[in-house]
């Protein structure tokens, strides 16, 4: 009896898993290529007359591009700001000594898993008071805050792997912590920061609940919030909605297919390697 799984059951299992994983995605793509009329009569099969009309409409007539731009602005802004907030903190936790250091790290690790739904109502009230409702800035602010715990944790883990000699390289010449961070540690951390940025960007791009609550103005919506709006408004034209859905998933999917390592490394960082 070989110490490998038997070939046939193995192939069946993997094929079944692959089909299950891919069929819904294929369904989405297939449906988006059908016209609404064709979809009414042919729900499950291949499109008899595939057409890109839905994509054209999605990009030219619906606010898809504007929404995508809003999402991009919010994602970019919050990833950048959270990095700026987290990097010095992680540096201080790893290389510095101060009261409450382990408490702070523990707090960050714990807060990673706090569900945003419990935070959204009070923060909404604050944003209304600040007059930031319907302003993308409100999303950038809250997302940045919510990304800090994971970012701090991730960077701490990485900074710990930097050998002491490297990190201290400038200390002998009298460089202070700011210069050491900026000149030595951060350049060494580029791959890690890139991975972190990718992971955080996925989170921000995919976020729904907060985006729904903070932005009511239709043209300011993020892509995810806009897609959920279309789902209701264009419920009689499923292919069109699915075309927008495909477009919303496209950036992340493409990115993933071209840079798997960053993804895998970042998202499995939970094990603290």
């Amino acid at each position: 009896m070989p110490a490998r799984a038997a070939a046939l059951p193995r192939q069946v299992l993997l094929a079944a898993i692959a089909v299950i994983c891919l069929e819904p995605i294929v369904f989405v793509l297939m449906t988006s290529l059908k016209s609404a009329d064709e979809y009414a009569v042919n729900r499950a099969g291949w499109p008899a007359r595939p057409t890109l009309a839905n994509y054209v409409e999605a990009l030219a007539e619906l606010p898809t591009l504007r929404w995508a731009l809003n999402s991009a602005l919010v994602t970019g802004g919050s990833v950048l700001i959270s990095l700026v907030l987290a990097a010095p903190a992680a540096y201080a936790i790893t290389f510095g000594e101060f009261h409450g250091r382990s408490l702070l790290l523990g707090a960050n690790v714990g807060l990673i898993m706090v569900p945003p739904v419990v935070l959204v109502l009070p923060v909404f009230v604050v944003m209304v008071n600040l007059g930031l409702i319907n302003n993308l800035l409100s999303l950038v602010i809250l997302y940045s805050c919510l990304l800090v715990p994971f970012s701090v944790f991730f960077l701490c883990n990485f900074f710990r792997t930097i050998p002491a000699e490297l990190a201290e390289a400038g200390a002998i010449d009298g460089a202070g912590p700011v210069q050491l961070l900026w000149r030595v540690v951060l350049p060494l951390s580029r791959p890690a920061m890139l991975t972190l940025a990718v992971v955080n960007a996925i989170w921000a791009w995919n976020e729904l609940l907060i985006a729904l609550v903070f932005i009511q103005n239709e043209s300011r919506r993020t892509l995810m919030a806009g897609l959920s709006l279309l789902q209701g408004r264009y419920s009689t034209n499923q292919p069109l909605v699915l075309a927008v859905a495909s477009l919303s998933m496209l950036p992340v999917a493409l990115f993933y297919l071209f840079s798997q390592r960053s993804f895998v490394r970042g998202l499995t960082a939970g094990i603290g390697k």
């Binding site: 110490a3 799984a5 038997a6 299992l13 993997l14 898993i17 692959a18 994983c21 819904p24 995605i25 369904f27 449906t31 729900r43 499950a44 099969g45 959270s82 010095p88 903190a89 540096y91 936790i93 290389f95 510095g96 000594e97 101060f98 790290l105 898993m113 706090v114 569900p115 739904v117 419990v118 935070l119 109502l121 009070p122 923060v123 805050c145 919510l146 800090v148 701490c156 990190a167 201290e168 200390a171 912590p177 050491l180 961070l181 995919n206 729904l208 609940l209 729904l212 609550v213 995810m224 499923q238 699915l242 859905a245 992340v252 999917a253 993933y256 998202l267 499995t268 939970g270 094990i271």
Partner: protein, 311 residues
């Protein structure tokens, strides 16, 4: 021993504190952490304190009256809340399923068959796609006369066709199915990475001793990645407790007749749609309490997984 103490030890004593002979502590770390602390205060501490406070008041936002623990008793008397809680527990039942399935796929891929990287890519793809896009897609796919039933009917499996989203019995399980579909890839990648990092000698020795495939997996491999398995289980438990809003909102909106509502959706509906801030805050406190328990467990298993990988 707390999880954090293992990892926060600075590598070689305090290094960059800039101190020479004096015992005066450096102040730069406080400055460095201040922005992050402010962010945590604004984004977490302040809202959490507000939610705790609001949970003790009832009524519409205009006329809040103190009710002490009245919201909590109203909560547990509310059918919809009990359904929401029960649904989160039902979702919890999918975690063993997810774990077993992911382990199975991971051990099979670990055998090093040709094209294993492709399978890994394919199973991981659902995980990184936005939940809203997935949800919208499945809400079309799972209609009574939609894609899934259409395919089933096409291959003669009519009997399996159900009203996945329109039946109060099936709605929550359909949500569960979509969650499993997305989360499976995360498990596969996680377990596969852990298995690949195991020392080859133990496996070789077992093979030389004539171990069968099943024994090899269950007696040799799985016990060695126990920490990773625990980590996945706890992470997924937290996920189905507090990160499924997008699925429910887009797939079923909690329906039909609240049969697929979950705690997050209950909070949204009562707090935001109905303006019942007090009740929603009380529900949020319940979610927090459950999450806190799981987070404590999560912190513990994280250490174990880290130690296991480091060994």
């Amino acid at each position: 021993m707390s999880a954090t103490q293992v990892r926060v030890r600075p590598v070689v004593g305090p290094r960059v504190s800039g101190r020479t002979a004096g015992r005066r502590r450096a102040w730069w770390p406080y400055l460095f952490v201040l922005p992050a602390v402010a962010a945590l205060g604004f984004g977490f501490v302040l809202p959490l304190l507000t939610v705790l406070r609001n949970s003790l008041y009832a009524g519409s936002v205009y006329q809040l009256e103190w009710v002490g623990l009245g919201n909590f008793s109203a909560l547990f008397a509310d059918d919809t809340f009990r359904t929401a809680l029960a649904n989160n527990l039902r979702l919890l039942l999918t975690v063993p399923l997810m774990t077993a399935l992911a382990l199975l796929v991971a051990v099979v891929l670990n055998d090093g068959i040709r094209g294993w990287r492709v399978y890994r890519t394919v199973t991981f793809l659902p995980y990184i796609l936005p939940a809203v896009g997935i949800g919208v897609s499945f809400s079309v796919f799972l209609q009574l006369n939609g894609g899934l039933n259409g395919s089933l009917r096409a291959v003669g499996l009519d009997a399996l066709a159900r009203d996945w989203l329109g039946s109060p019995h099936w709605a929550i399980w359909s949500v569960a199915g979509v969650v499993v579909w997305q989360q499976l890839g995360f498990g596969v990648v996680l377990f596969l990475a852990a298995l690949l990092s195991l020392p080859g000698e133990v496996t070789e020795a077992a093979r030389v001793d004539g171990a069968r495939w099943w024994t090899l997996q269950t007696r040799i491999h799985l016990p060695q990645i126990r920490g990773t398995i625990e980590f996945f289980v706890v992470t997924e438990a937290i996920t189905v407790l507090s990160w499924v809003f997008a699925y429910v909102y887009v797939l079923t909106a909690g329906g039909p007749a609240h049969s697929s509502t979950v705690l997050e959706f209950y909070i949204w509906e009562n707090g935001f749609a109905h303006g019942n801030v007090g009740l929603a805050s009380a529900a949020a406190v319940v979610v927090l309490a459950l999450a806190a328990i799981l987070i404590a467990v999560y912190l513990r298993v994280r250490v174990r997984a880290a130690n296991e990988r480091a060994a």
